[in-house]
Every structure is written in C-alpha cells, then in structure tokens.
C-alpha cells in the first residue's frame, strides 16, 4: 500500500531521506516577519519619543493604543485572514445572532470614528456665544441659548448643521465631543483589555502547565491581588499625581487580570490532559512551545469571549470616574459631558442625553457581541451547529 502510492516527482520529498545533521534554513512566515519588523519599529519609535524628543510625539495612551491596534492586526485579523475556512465557519455561526451583527457594525463605526475622527476634526473649542444650541431639526425656546446660531423664529431657536448634535453650556459641539469620547472609550476598553488578557493568559496557562509550586505561587498571588481595592488605589494616585487616562488604564490593566488568569487556568487544566499535549512533549517540544502553540490557542475562545465582556466594564469605569470629575478635565470623554449637562436637563436635555445614549449602546453592543462570540466560538456548543 505504501509502495504503490509513492510517486517520485521533483516536488516530493520523503521523510526517510532527511539528513537530521543538516536541517535548518530560515523559514519565517510572512506574519512572523511582519510582526518582528513592526515590533522593532514600534520599539524604536517609543524609545525615540521617550529619550530623544522634548515634546512627546503622541501621548503614552496613544502609544499603548497603537500597540493594541498592532496586536489586533497580528493576533486577530491576520490569523483570521489566514484561516479563511475557519473564519467563514465562525462567521456563519456568529451571524445567526442578528442583534450581535448590528452591534458589531455599530462598534466598527464607533471604532473607526474614534480612531481616525480626532485626527481629522479639530478639538471642540470653548465658544460662549454658541452655548446651548439644540441639535439640528430640533428647536428650543429662544431664552435658553445665549444667542441662536441657527434660525430663530417665533420665539424658538432651531438647530443648525454647524452643530448637528447641539452644543454644551460652554458652546462646544456635542458631535465632536462624542467623536472624541469614542476615542477615549475605545482606548480605555481596548488597551485595558489587551493588558488584562495578555497577563491573564500567560499567568493562567503557565500555572496550569507547570502546576505544583508555580501554580501555587501564581494563584495565591492572584488571590491577594483580587482583594486589592483598585478603586481606592486609583483615587489615591489621582490625588497624588495629575489624573490621566494613562494612569487609569495602567492601574486597571495591571491589577485587573486576576479573574482572567483564573478562568484561563481552569480551561488550560482541562486542555493539559489532552493527549495532543503529550504528543507534542513526545516530539521533543519545550515547555514554552507547548504553552505558546497548543495551550494558548486552545484557551483563546474563552479568552476572547471574556475579553469582549470585560471591555464594557472598563468603559463604564472610565465614564463613572469622568462623571465624578476624577479624570483629566482636558480629555473629552462621554462621562464628562454627561456630568456637565446634568444641571441643564430640563432646559437643554441633549447635553447629557446624547453622550449617554452612545455610552448605553456601546456597552450594550459589546455585551451582545460577547454573547454571540461565546456561542460561535465555544467548542462545547459545536455539536448543535
């Protein structure tokens, strides 16, 4: 049977002809190569920004956001594009949930607007003369705005396309504030998520794979960290230093991964017992190889689902802090705008309501997408597909 299927052409090579004293050659995949080059470029740019320039090119938060985007390209988008069949399979399952598809489109719009919008439009500026303008197509009693930018007729001030979503009490355009707020929310949600799942996954898989003392040390540390009141730490740190988005992200990122680590560990413990792990050991794979190539990919479903459900909680945290005035006042975020409009709810309802609606739908959309991803990726539900 083995003999007659053997077709000797130039392109075939037989395993028994391999000279094991002379293997090698450089065979990086395009992805590995691109990843290497971009990480190097990124590292150089950060070092240049930190050590060689007086003024920062972009803020720390933006550097982290760039890193998150790179990670998204190389660890989500690229593999998905590489494995089209698997991607198509997941998409077929995902799209069964129509609410999740709509949510995903909405989130994509928010993401794109939030990422690129602030580069294209100017930061909203203080303009007392244009305060309290109503959104376009709506009108408000002429006594509310200081002066009406749009048409004023019969004692009503009509909204204008100059400020499509109206203005705040200090005349900032809410449409622009919302776009800038999108960036803040996306940054907080995505960067914190990246930090949390990176640390959580490494700790969780290592604890499960090495077990014994390593497991004990890591998980007991997680226990301690989980009892730590992150909220109060944030209060103290903002009191001591200038409050900033960077601070918020790092504090919540570096102290918030305990739950993910536990989740990943329990999942990885099950995977560790599978015989493909033993097969890899038997092939001579190192610990790092097995964790990287087998354990991590096989817990990724759990991680992705958990990550999608973590993002809205971070966005809400940020909005809460901004609402309480605990964040950098120069960073326009949704929570801040809601807070600034809360005194004018009876006269200028749109100031607090519009960013509130965006916040509400963003959080809701992440939850929908997370649920649908869990259904689409969870191997336990694979049978009923």
């Amino acid at each position: 049977m083995a003999a007659d299927t053997r077709s000797e052409t130039a392109a075939t090579e037989r395993f028994e002809d391999v000279d094991w004293n002379d293997v090698g050659g450089l065979g990086f995949t395009r992805r590995t190569l691109a990843l290497g080059v971009s990480s190097l470029a990124y590292a150089v740019a950060v070092l240049y920004d930190v050590f060689l320039t007086e003024d920062a090119l972009i803020s720390g938060t933006n550097w982290l956001f760039l890193l998150t985007l790179l990670a998204g390209v190389f660890f989500v988008a690229w593999p998905l594009a590489d494995n089209r069949r698997l991607t198509a399979y997941y998409w077929r399952r995902f799209k069964k949930n129509r609410a999740a598809v709509i949510s995903a489109i909405y989130l994509l719009v928010v993401f794109v607007l939030g990422t690129f919008g602030p580069m294209l439009i100017a930061k909203p500026e203080l303009n007392v003369l244009a305060a309290y303008q109503p959104p376009v197509f709506l009108s408000v009693d002429s006594s509310v705005p200081t002066s009406c930018v749009g048409q004023a007729a019969e004692g009503l001030c009509h909204g204008t396309w100059k400020y499509p979503l109206g203005t705040t009490s200090d005349g900032k355009g809410i449409a622009r504030l919302v776009v800038f707020g999108m960036r803040v929310s996306m940054q907080v949600g995505l960067i914190t998520m990246l930090i949390v799942i990176s640390i959580g996954t490494v700790v969780g898989t290592s604890a499960a794979y090495f077990s014994g003392l390593v497991d004990e040390l890591l998980m007991r540390y997680v226990d301690i960290q989980q009892t730590f009141p992150t909220f109060f730490l944030f209060l103290i740190v903002t009191y001591l230093f200038k409050p900033s988005l960077f601070l918020l992200i790092t504090i919540f990122g570096f102290l918030g991964w305990g739950g993910i680590a536990r989740l990943v560990r329990s999942e990885a413990l099950q995977r560790r017992e599978e015989s493909y792990i033993q097969a890899a050991e038997n092939a001579g794979a190192s610990d790092g190889w097995i964790i990287r190539r087998h354990l991590m990919p096989n817990v990724s479903n759990t991680v992705i689902t958990a990550a999608t459900l973590l993002i809205p909680s971070f966005i809400l945290f940020e909005a809460t802090f901004a609402f309480l005035g605990l964040t950098d006042p120069s960073t326009p975020s949704w929570g801040q705008v809601i807070s600034s409009g809360r005194g004018d709810l009876d006269s200028a309802w749109w100031i607090a309501t519009i960013p509130g609606v965006f916040l509400f739908f963003t959080v809701l959309a992440f939850n929908f997408v997370g649920d649908a991803l869990r259904d689409a990726l969870d191997p336990r539900s694979e049978g009923d597909a």
């Binding site: 075939t12 097969a279 990919p297």
Partner: protein, 434 residues
C-alpha cells in the same frame, strides 16, 4: 538475540506518591509499574498486554521518559536514557515516537492535520516551511490519505483516518521505535485490520521496532512477535506469540487467553473465571501478586485438597485477614428470615452461610483441613476474630503468598514468573518451599 537489543528495560519502576495535607506528606505510593524488564530488538514487535489499570500505559510513558521513572534503567541503542540531559533527550525523542489511544484527543483541534504532522519536524529544527509541507504531503499519501488533506482539520476525519495521521506523525521523524498505546482499541474491527496491516507494511519498510500495548489479545496475536503479559505493575510472562498462545505458562495468561471469545460454538473454551477483586496497586499483595485471584494457587503440602476447594478456602482466609464482619452475616440472615434479631441467629447457621458464600462444601475432602477450618470458623463466629485469623493463617498458607516468584525460563522458551513453572509440576502435588 545476536547483538545488543535496540531497547533494553531493566527494573523499570514508576510509583506515584499519595500525599495528604498542606505539607504534602507522603502517606503511600501507587506502584503503577513495579520493576519490569524486557528487551526489544530492532524490527520486532513486542506486545504488552494486561487488564485495564495494570500499568501498561504508565510503562509506555515512563519508558519514553514522558514521565520520569522512579527507578530502573532504560538502555536505548547502548545508552541509558534515564541519565540524558535535555539536549540528548531531545535527540532521543527524534528516534522514539508514540502513538496514542484516543484519536480524537491526540490532535490539536486548532491545527490542520498537516501542521500537526509537520510539528515534530519543526521542533527538531527544520525551519523550511515548504520542505516540511513536501515531506508531510508525501507521507500522508503513503499512509493512505491524500496530499490535499494537509489543510483539513482533525474533526473532518474519521477515527481510522486520524489513526493513519497519527501513524504519519509518529513516522515523520523516521524513528527507530514506536510505542503504540492501544492504537486500535478505539476503532471498529474492520478499521482495526486496515490500521494493523498499514503498521506492518511500514514496519517492514523501515525496520521499525514497535512496542504494541493492548488489552485485546486477538489483535496482539495478529501483530506481535513476542508478548509480555503484565499484572499489577509486573510482568508475569514473556514469550514468543505462538508459544504464549499455544502453551501459556502463567495461570494469569491462561485466564486471559480463556477470555478470548471463540467463534466456533462446538469448540467452546473452558472459561477460567477469576475470583476476587483486582487488588489496589497502592497496596499490592505479598509474594506472587496474583495469589489472591489465581485459580491454580499452590495448596499447602500437608493437605490433600481439591484445587477448587483450596481456592475457596484461601478466599475465605484472605477475607478474614482483611477483616470479615460476622455481624453483617448475621444481619443478612435476619433479613433472610432465619431469626428475628441478629443475636438470635444460631452460630451454625452463620457458619453454613459463610461456607455457602465462599463456595466451600459442608465438609472438606481433606479431614485435617476440615478440622482446622471448623475450628477457625467457630472462633470467627463466636467473635474471637484474632484466634480465627491465627488458626487459618497457620494452616492455610501458600508459597505463592510468602515468596515472590522470579521470571524463570521454561524449556519451551517462554519466561514466566510463577512457582508452578520452575517446579514444572502438577498443581495437586505438594510443593516444597525453595
């Protein structure tokens, strides 16, 4: 055995500690594999058979050092692999591969099967992707699949196809030995035959040595050149397949062989039924580990007992040793309606019930043995457990319990660890303690 064997295992032990409490104090050991020795020549297939839980799989994983053995030497091609450091162990891994029992869990569901088969090549430093692909595509064709299967995922294959792929993965590094842990027991019988014939073809082509682990004696007879029978972490018999199947030396082997169903209804085998439970490997029986269940256990010289009788008497004695509660028997008799309350059950009824329970006749064929047994039973029933134990222990002891037999080679070329073999005597004859 002209030159040194390819693989030589000597006194391999794998014990798992049983720990208790926070401080992980060792309170006992599960002796999964307890001192096994065998050789494998290159190009030979050695079968390792035994019941579930007898340590076959542990033997496989420890002889490949997937788990570090507790003790013993494993000499592969002249070098002791138990002393290898990481680098040398890795080059040993290239020459010794393993096939797993469960085809559904032995492939990473996130990797295409091609990547899985190519993984060992990559681990051992072949970084050229297209070369790996060429080799694996060629290999997939040679195990009866097609090159285009490279990009498919494990769940798209049947169990038999997956075992073909597993064979490809085991072969891809061109090893000298493959340890196959129940490679066909999860498959349908018709598929089993295909995989087995594929393994044979490949073995002939590449002069592979195979350690074939199975509980299925039918398959083992098909595949193996020699067979080692394991019981409770020890090898009890090693022989050429033909010798083992036609002339088994060890009573355990005979019991295993009698359990193979025969398709011919007119030639129904005499079924040998094993009594008693499989002992726990954390506390294996003394002497010959099989003596608690052995149908041919050697009777004491001073009595002339029928073999069946003796087995049942010994069963009773061992039960008394491990603590037989007479009160339970009384309660049982109350439930049967013999008396109204346990105290009122007459002693002779309890004795009768005990004899019935252990299949011991009303009177033993040997008068002296009967006297001792009655004395023991009376003591037992009257509540004097220690006296009963002592009486029975003194009279009904066997060489099988006292001394562990060593592997002895019989004149027929098979090697068995049994006191019956070195004496080559019939069961009924008295056996002197050597």
């Amino acid at each position: 055995m002209s030159s040194d064997p390819l693989l030589s295992v000597r006194g391999l032990k794998k014990h798992y500690p049983i720990t208790e409490g926070v401080l992980k104090k060792e309170v006992g050991r599960v002796k999964a594999v307890d001192g096994i020795s065998f050789d494998v020549e290159s190009g030979e297939t050695l079968g390792l058979v035994g019941e579930s839980g007898c340590g076959k799989s542990t033997a496989a994983t420890s002889l490949l050092r997937l788990e570090d053995p507790t003790d013993g030497d494993i000499v592969f091609d002249g070098e002791d692999i138990t002393e290898f450091d990481d680098t040398r162990l890795k080059s040993f891994r290239r020459r010794a591969q393993m096939m797993f029992q469960d085809p559904s869990s032995s492939f990473d569901p996130r990797m295409s099967v091609g990547e899985s088969v190519a993984e060992p090549l990559e681990i051992h430093g072949m970084r050229d992707r297209s070369r790996r692909r060429r080799i694996v595509e060629n290999l997939l064709e040679r195990v009866g699949l097609s090159a285009s299967d490279f990009d498919r995922y494990p769940h798209e294959f049947s169990g038999g196809q997956k075992q073909r792929i597993a064979l490809a993965r085991a072969l891809v590094l061109n090893p000298d030995i493959i340890v196959a842990d129940e490679p066909v027991s999860a498959l349908d019988v018709s598929i089993q035959a295909e995989i087995i014939s594929l393994m044979r073809d490949l073995q002939d082509e590449f002069d592979l040595a195979i350690v074939f682990i199975s509980h299925d004696l039918g398959v083992v007879r098909e595949v193996c050149d020699r067979v080692a029978v394991m019981y409770l972490g020890e090898i009890v018999e090693v022989a050429d397949t033909e010798t083992l199947f036609t002339d088994p030396q060890h009573p355990y082997t005979r019991a295993l062989l009698s359990s193979i169903p025969t398709p011919d209804p007119t030639r129904r085998n005499e079924q040998i039924e094993l009594t008693g439970d499989v002992p726990s490997p954390s506390n294996p029986p003394s002497g010959c580990r099989f003596h608690t269940r052995c149908p041919e256990v050697i009777p004491p010289a001073e009595f002339d007992l029928d073999q069946d009788e003796w087995r049942h008497v010994l069963d009773l004695r061992l039960r008394v040793d491990s603590g037989l509660d007479v009160e339970d028997v009384r309660s049982f008799l109350v439930a049967e309606g013999v008396a109204n309350d346990p105290e009122a059950v007459p002693d002779d009824a309890v004795e009768r019930e005990l004899r019935r329970e252990f299949d011991i006749p009303e009177t033993l064929s040997d008068a002296a043995a009967e006297t001792v047994l009655s004395e023991g039973l009376t003591a037992l029933v009257s509540g004097d457990h220690d006296h009963a134990k002592q009486t029975l222990d003194e009279a009904f002891s066997t060489v099988c319990e006292r001394d562990a037999p060593t592997l002895e080679t019989s004149e027929r070329g098979s090697t068995a660890a049994c006191h019956l073999v070195d004496e080559s005597v019939t069961v009924e004859s008295p056996v002197t303690n050597d």
